[in-house]
Symmetry: C2
Subunit: 318 residues, 2 copies
Amino acid sequence: MDLVIGIDIGGTKTKIGLVNKEGECLEKTFFRTKEYPNLDHYLDQVQNVSNELLSKYNGSNVLGCGIGAPNASSKNGTIENASNLLWKGSVPILSELQKRMDMPMRIMNDASAAALGEMLFGNAKDISDFIAITLGTGFGAGIVANGQLIDGFDGFAGELGHVDMTIGDGRLTGLGVKGGLEAYVSATGLKRTIMYMLSKYLVDSRFRGIAYNDLHGEDITQAAEEGDEIAIKAFDYTAKIMAQAMANFTAFTQPEAFILLGGLVNSGKWILEPLETYFDEFLLEVYKGKVKIMLSGMKGKTAAICGAAALIWEKQNT
Amino acid sequence: MDLVIGIDIGGTKTKIGLVNKEGECLEKTFFRTKEYPNLDHYLDQVQNVSNELLSKYNGSNVLGCGIGAPNASSKNGTIENASNLLWKGSVPILSELQKRMDMPMRIMNDASAAALGEMLFGNAKDISDFIAITLGTGFGAGIVANGQLIDGFDGFAGELGHVDMTIGDGRLTGLGVKGGLEAYVSATGLKRTIMYMLSKYLVDSRFRGIAYNDLHGEDITQAAEEGDEIAIKAFDYTAKIMAQAMANFTAFTQPEAFILLGGLVNSGKWILEPLETYFDEFLLEVYKGKVKIMLSGMKGKTAAICGAAALIWEKQNT
């Protein structure tokens, strides 16, 4: 059987799995990224875990290893200045890993990997123009136009989390961009908006008793379910800015669909219903009724691994 | 000799020319678009003018007709809801013109046509990722990624003049977008900014004696040359917002270059010098030093015609 190793490098977890041609993740595991501040130790751990997984599939044919990571350059094989990772500067991760695991390898921005995953295995099999948005700790985007993923000049296309929404007068992102989208639309952005709503309104809320550092996305969804006004206002505010950004993005490549992935999507109707309403409101007349908002077609917990594996499976098909 | 008819439909002028394989405009003329509010009369005029030009090139082989127009859909062959044109709604311009002139035809957003022109005849012959920006009455963009023009789902990609820069709280564009880029960065935007600066500062200026309707772009350049502070502040403000938008666009497709065309570019250093400075300031670290700002490589007065003709020449080459 042909298999591909899919690796999703996240700020919190590194997920590794084995993915077959149908995009099924047959075996998977994870470890905590921050436990390996030293890059060499980290890569040794990746190698060990990969070998462990592969040992269960003796005799299978490993076609390669695909990696999704924040701030990854597909063209340089590097991760550069990722604000959520401990390794600083330009990290030549592909060449270093290749020394340990001799097989075809590709690395890509995690959201671009997710977009490839949707094309091969998910909801974008018949869509030539779409944007995949990953809503995790940060905000990532993978842009597909004319049926091709857009890489950019040296592989850093799609860094939409750092698009300024306010002509230089708003919240700072982790990269110091004032008014950057990610500072509003992400799990972190939602937490910051809870603080903002507590400052703006006097209405009672469970969040008056919870410190910022103790706040989790699931709590905010739970509070909304229970009618907490601060939570509901925070979702509405997040959805409004996200809708504005998506209306702007539509003017760029005119996607047929946005495909949403990541933790924030688990908040369900609290984010999605106002998002649909505002998006329709903000969209230019010429685009109205033509742009779908879809959820990922990949299974939630393995979507990132399968997206990473798609980097290798894509090359097999061409 | 093989020739292509290039037609640039603008809010003020319709320019028609004959363009050879080298991108040289051998013959050209124009008429005022607004003198033909009736579409049939307009198209008759296009046909007559084209025949007149062609009569000078008897025996040459006409390969087709390329059209650049605001709000044109390449996929539908229409112009839709163009705020600078008199014909309202969805105008099936390609099929109607085809009835009069039986030859291969393509239509495209004027800025996308300009981008194709730069690829074939201008400064983007060796650039796979770039964005052409036309700064005329409005703001247009033609986006090239992976060496291909991005059309979008039904041909309306690149409507960046209507990107909101202010989270819904700014000047209205002609399409009613609050805070839309075009309301700031265009010949019209610059005029509006002169008014804004007159409201903000008390300093003396020649513009205190000129009505909005009597204001022209060339006057503003001239005033800056003479040290008029209001003019200089207006250029600085325009350049700052344009730089912010271009930094945002860079995060989208990571172009290797922006290529600038159109009337506002004639203001030269007054717009270009602050643009360079602010752009470098706003650009994310990962993009710094990698994105060039270039001027068009096509001759100013015929660039739009040659861009339109490129729609047909491109198909000859493939």
